[in-house]
């Protein structure tokens, strides 16, 4: 079971500022445990994919991502999802405030 996610999206001066938190162990090869890390992060703005990211074990446990999207107005739907190397995933959707 994937742990909770939390996201905040605010419109400011022609940009949408997004901050998203994810619960994930992000287990590295160094730990001696089986690798378990987020591989893909996808960001959708109004249903349209705007970011497709590939990340690695170098990202910390319980990561936080913060980025700006061009455009956007209050009420726009932002969706962020992740997929890890074990096929687990989670998605969160929020309206721009």
């Amino acid at each position: 079971m994937a742990g909770p996610m939390k996201m905040r999206a605010t419109a400011q001066g022609g940009f949408t500022e997004v901050r998203v938190l994810m619960t994930h162990p992000m287990t590295t090869a160094q730990s001696g445990q089986p690798l378990h890390f987020i591989q893909n992060v996808t960001v959708k703005q109004h249903g349209k994919t705007v970011i497709e990211a590939e990340i690695s074990q170098a990202v910390s446990r319980n990561p936080v991502f913060s980025f700006r999207l061009k455009g956007g107005a209050k009420g726009d739907k932002i969706e962020v999802s992740w997929l890890d190397n074990k096929g687990e995933s989670n998605t969160i959707e929020t309206a721009v405030a």
């Binding site: 909770p4 996610m5 939390k6 938190l21 319980n62």
Partner: protein, 265 residues
């Protein structure tokens, strides 16, 4: 050659205070950065789920738990703890009160409920999640631990005595580390906790998430670990001694708006 050497020495001397200033600034910058990326909110969310989850022989949630402001009232409850509870006839801090609700409301045994009070990075404990959630409901509320009931005053005095009491294998007291200005261990400044101006920002940001080990730490853990570092026998969870120390520190920090759960190095 001699003159050249002299110049270097002078430069070196003047550079020291500037470097110390820069280090302090850099540490502050680092602390601000980790606070911005803090996963504390994830612990609060998980804690909320646990708070509302029916558990124990009575199969009820903690939603009716009275943290001092009435059954189920969370807003500002943490900021007013520890305090005296008439139903238990003792002073309780947050974790002791949560344990009380687990045993009374949910009908769980004390042994079962305290089997794993401190978690680790792979599996945080129930107490840690719940502490994050409850404390988060006091953001912006001024710290006002109970300090009027005779038992509250007794806890404060006992905590104060324990703070300065030297014992254990290394003959240490809390004040051995937290009793002098401008001391630090590596990057960590050691606050002089018997002074309100030093206790205030500390007590207003515990419990807290530690980025260095990805763990959420509670106040009972903080006291427990200080005793471990002083090489004392391990204090009992939710005991008179740990509650007294937390009471003493929180009363000393009275008036500071709560802004935790915090994020520590």
């Amino acid at each position: 050659m001699t003159r050249f050497f002299g110049t270097i020495v002078i430069l070196g001397l003047t550079a020291i205070p500037a470097a110390a200033q820069d280090t302090k600034k850099e540490i502050q910058k680092y602390q601000q950065m980790i606070a911005e990326g803090s996963p504390v909110e994830l612990f609060e969310l998980e804690g909320e789920t646990l708070w509302k989850k029916p558990q124990g022989p009575h199969n009820v949630s903690l939603e009716k738990c009275d943290l001092g402001q009435g059954a189920g009232v969370l807003k500002g409850a943490y900021a007013r703890l520890p305090r005296y509870f008439k139903d238990a006839d003792r002073v309780m801090d947050l974790e002791t009160r949560l344990l009380h609700c687990m045993t009374t409301l949910q009908g769980r045994s004390r042994d079962e409920a305290t089997k794993r009070v401190f978690g680790n990075e792979n599996q945080p404990s129930e107490m840690e999640y719940l502490s994050a959630y409850v404390a988060g409901q006091s953001r912006g509320v001024k710290l006002a631990a109970g300090n009027s009931h005779p038992k509250e005053k007794e806890a404060y005095e006992l905590g104060k005595a324990l703070f300065f009491h030297r014992a254990g294998g290394w003959d240490m007291s809390c004040a051995s580390c937290h009793g002098e200005d401008n001391k630090r261990i590596r990057m960590q400044e050691l606050p002089v906790l018997h002074k309100p101006q030093a206790a205030r920002p500390i007590m207003a940001t515990w419990p807290a998430y530690r980025v260095s080990n990805s763990q959420f730490k509670t106040m009972q853990w903080r006291i427990n670990d200080c005793y471990r570092q002083m090489r004392y026998p391990e204090p009992k969870f939710a005991s008179e001694a740990t509650i007294a120390l937390i009471t003493y520190l929180t009363v000393t920090a009275a008036g500071e708006p709560y802004r935790g759960p915090g994020t520590k190095r």
